[in-house]
């Protein structure tokens, strides 16, 4: 087991996630509900625990209340530790006044004192808005074996999509020789996953250089990594094989949810060797009526299903009335769906009430997104409660 002080993880959870539209109106992106039970950040936090990385700083500033109360002192992820554990790091006022985080690198820079408290040899930087299972201890071992200054996790993406990512061009031995942000003609399909291991001292030095540069936007991908490459740091790419999804857009968020519904899902939530932890609700077993029909779905406790649920995800306490049909949809906690409702490709927020006979009508294949606490009277059309741009359906990537 990695001792607490060998490696400290810094989890960037500050993303406002405008592209997730009203899902993030009251939440930081990593706090968005996912997979019928979880919040997006649960995956990275559980990865830390399962990898034996037991000191984690969570950097957050945008709407941190839900995130703060979700994380608490880390009990669900077994991160309530005497030595280390999880700490939520928000910006604060000191005698010089208060300062918000400017970019990802600035967020880490402002919290260097936290890292120094544990005096680690390595710093793992991860981001709270990706869905995947990864053993960081293997990546750390690779980092040590390569005697690298920096290791960046990469994943093979389809060539056709490579130009949407930050692409690493590597030498035979895995050393990164070039980094291209969204290249028009990619020479490689190894995309950065935004997961970095740094030797702590090198990270400190380069963050200080970056801070001193007024032209910098203090971002890892845009500024610090190129700066390190230029300074000839030993930077290696660590190839990750497995399921990985950035849920930065509504479409990809929906896809990642639907990916869980395969008969043999690529991301197995039932795998006891790599459990995904979260705060557990307290609800009775869900009820399936004699007239109900459920397939290719995830149903959480507390639900009552009288209708038909197909290729959909129900969070705790959802009610689906008689004669209703749900397809390709995600219904969050506490929402009530009346009788004879038709929902297709819909993402419905928490505690929504959808009256009898309501229906979605999406001529294109646009996702319908309904914000929490909305109410639809009987027989109305269920429409998105925010406009297209706010939902950011463009394929844009960070």
């Amino acid at each position: 087991m990695i001792r607490a002080r060998d490696c400290v993880a810094m989890l960037l959870a500050g993303g406002e996630g405008r592209r997730l539209g009203m899902l993030t109106r009251e939440l930081a992106k990593p706090a968005v509900p996912f997979g019928g039970k979880y919040r997006v950040i649960d995956f990275t936090l559980s990865n830390c625990t399962n990898s034996g990385i037991l000191t984690v700083g969570v950097l957050t500033q945008y709407q941190p209340l839900i995130l703060n109360s979700h994380i608490g002192i880390g009990i669900p992820w077994d991160l309530d530790r005497k030595d280390g554990g999880v700490t939520v790091l928000s910006p604060f006022v000191d005698q010089k006044g208060g300062e918000w985080y400017k970019g990802t690198a600035d967020a880490i820079f402002q919290n260097l004192y936290f890292i120094e408290r544990y005096d680690p040899r390595y710093v793992l930087v991860i981001s709270g808005d990706h869905i995947y299972k990864m053993d960081y201890s293997r990546m750390l071992k690779y980092h040590q074996e390569k005697q690298a200054d920096v290791t960046i996790a990469v994943i093979e993406v389809p060539w056709a999509e490579a130009s949407r990512f930050g692409i690493m061009n590597t030498a035979q031995d895995g050393r990164i020789v070039e980094f291209e942000e969204k290249p028009e003609k990619p020479r490689n399909n190894l995309a950065s996953m935004g997961i970095y291991i740094f030797d702590r001292e090198i990270l400190q030095d380069h963050l200080r250089v970056d801070q001193a540069n007024p032209a910098s936007s203090n971002d890892f991908g845009k500024n610090v990594i190129p700066q390190m490459l230029q300074a000839d740091c030993r930077m290696f790419a660590y190839l990750f094989r497995g399921y990985w999804k950035d849920v930065g857009t509504l479409e990809s968020f929906w896809e990642a949810n639907m990916d869980l519904l395969q008969d043999q899902p690529d991301l197995d939530l039932n795998d006891l060797t790599w459990p995904i932890y979260t705060v557990n609700p307290n609800q009775p077993p869900h009820y399936i009526d004699p007239a109900a029909r459920v397939k290719r779905s995830l149903i959480n406790e507390g639900c009552m299903v009288f209708g038909q649920v197909e290729h959909s995800i129900l969070f705790p306490g959802v009610q689906v009335g008689k004669g209703s049909v749900l397809r390709d949809s995600i219904i969050m906690s506490g929402t009530t769906i009346g009788t004879d409702v038709l929902l297709e490709r819909a993402i419905i927020g928490e505690n929504v009430i959808i009256g009898n006979g309501c229906y979605t009508s999406s001529p294109g294949k646009e996702l319908i997104v309904v914000r929490e606490n909305s109410i639809f009277p009987d027989n109305s059309v269920v429409e998105s409660t925010l406009n297209g741009e706010m939902m950011g359906l463009r394929g844009e990537k960070k």
């Binding site: 669900p76 008969d263 995904i276 307290n282 009820y287 009526d289 959480n300 129900l314």
Partner: protein, 371 residues
């Protein structure tokens, strides 16, 4: 409720629920897809605002202790008051344990230390969701020495057989309690739930144990019907005392009625239990589930009808589970068939096998056993 403490005692014999009680006490028997029997009375007390609760155990209480832990799941992990598990100070051989007063007498210290004035005492095999506040108010206002909760019997099932039939007079004053009877419809069945002052309980403990008598109802209460003002107070809602495999089976099956499901688990408060890290239950392409309740963590590839599935059950392709209760992490193999059955934890029905009982006589597959 600051001045009320809760006491949960063993009011029933393990033998009646064999083989489910082979390695566990009655209080620890699983029920309703994810609960243990004790969760119902414990949650009722907490929801009523009783934050000092003791659980007196007699035998086979290890799984109960694992379940209750520090009381965290019931918000009873408190610095002052909270949950107290009080095992016997000596180990009882089969005939040595003679009643709750024997347990209480071994922990007089505990009673003396508590600051509460009143005590709600309850057995541990009740399936219920109760608010004790009206009974406590009635107790104070009626100036009773002891208030016994009763249930007006609604159906001819033997849920309350042997509990005692209460005959009341004016002002709900108890005139007689007939223990050797199965109360009929419309009659008042005693519920093993009592409200009294702690001081009186201590008197009863002393008086009875000095006389070598240990039965709370028989010796403590019926024996004092003449000296004390004993009153009766009705309990409302779905209510059963699980003292046979048949009742265990039928009361689980009752939960398939949405009205009972909604009443038992939500009204007046939530029933709490130890939570587990299980993902939502996954239904695959070929799943067919009807009239069933399912806890989290199951993977359903086959057919499930009129059944109660606990956490992490796996129903493989072509398997058919019907009119059954399947406990935690049991597996039903491909094309296997299970009917009128109770599968205890981690039981395994092999592919193509059939495990079937009868409607009035469900068959039990023991913990970790395979057919």
């Amino acid at each position: 409720m600051k001045d009320v403490m809760g006491v949960i005692y063993v009011n029933d014999d393990d033998e009646a629920l064999q083989p489910l009680t082979k390695d566990r006490c009655v209080a620890s028997v699983p029920f309703g897809g994810r609960y243990r029997l004790i969760d119902f009375i414990l949650s009722s007390m907490v929801n009523t605002g009783i934050f000092n609760v003791s659980v007196f155990t007699v035998r086979k209480y290890r799984s109960l202790m694992d379940h209750l832990e520090t009381g965290k799941s019931w918000d009873l992990n408190r610095k002052q008051d909270g949950l107290f598990i009080l095992p016997p100070q000596t180990h009882y051989h089969s005939s040595e344990f003679q009643g709750a007063l024997q347990s209480f007498n071994q922990h007089l210290d505990y009673f003396h230390r508590c600051r509460q004035e009143y005590v709600v005492i309850s057995g541990s095999n009740l399936v219920c969701n109760l608010d004790f506040a009206p009974a406590v108010s009635f107790h104070r206002e009626s100036d009773a020495d002891i208030t016994i909760l009763y249930k007006e019997v609604e159906h001819p099932e033997p849920d309350f057989a042997g509990c005692g039939k209460i005959i009341t007079g004016e002002g709900e004053r108890v005139q007689e309690i007939i223990t050797a009877s199965n109360p009929a419809r419309g009659e008042k069945a005693a519920l093993c739930i009592y409200v009294m002052r702690k001081a009186l309980l201590l008197d009863l403990i002393q008086q009875c144990t000095e006389a070598g008598k240990f039965h709370l109802l028989g010796d403590g209460i019926i024996g004092n019907l003449q000296n004390l003002k004993v009153c009766a107070f009705p309990a409302e809602g779905f209510l059963s005392m699980i003292h046979s495999i048949g009742l265990f089976y039928r009361r689980n099956m009752d939960l398939l009625q949405p009205s009972i499901w909604g009443e038992l688990f939500f009204q007046p408060g939530l029933i709490y239990t130890k939570v587990k890290d299980e993902p939502p239950t996954r239904y695959t392409e070929n799943a067919v589930v009807q009239n069933s309740i399912l806890a989290n963590g199951c993977i359903i590839e086959g057919r499930v009808e009129n059944s109660v599935l606990f956490r992490g059950v796996r129903v493989h392709k072509g398997a058919h589970v019907k009119d059954s209760i399947v406990l935690q992490r049991s597996v039903i193999g491909e094309n296997a068939r299970v009917e009128y059955a109770i599968l205890d934890k981690e039981a395994y029905v092999s592919a193509h096998k059939t495990f079937r009982g009868e409607e009035r006589k469900p068959v039990v597959l023991e913990k970790r056993k395979t057919v």
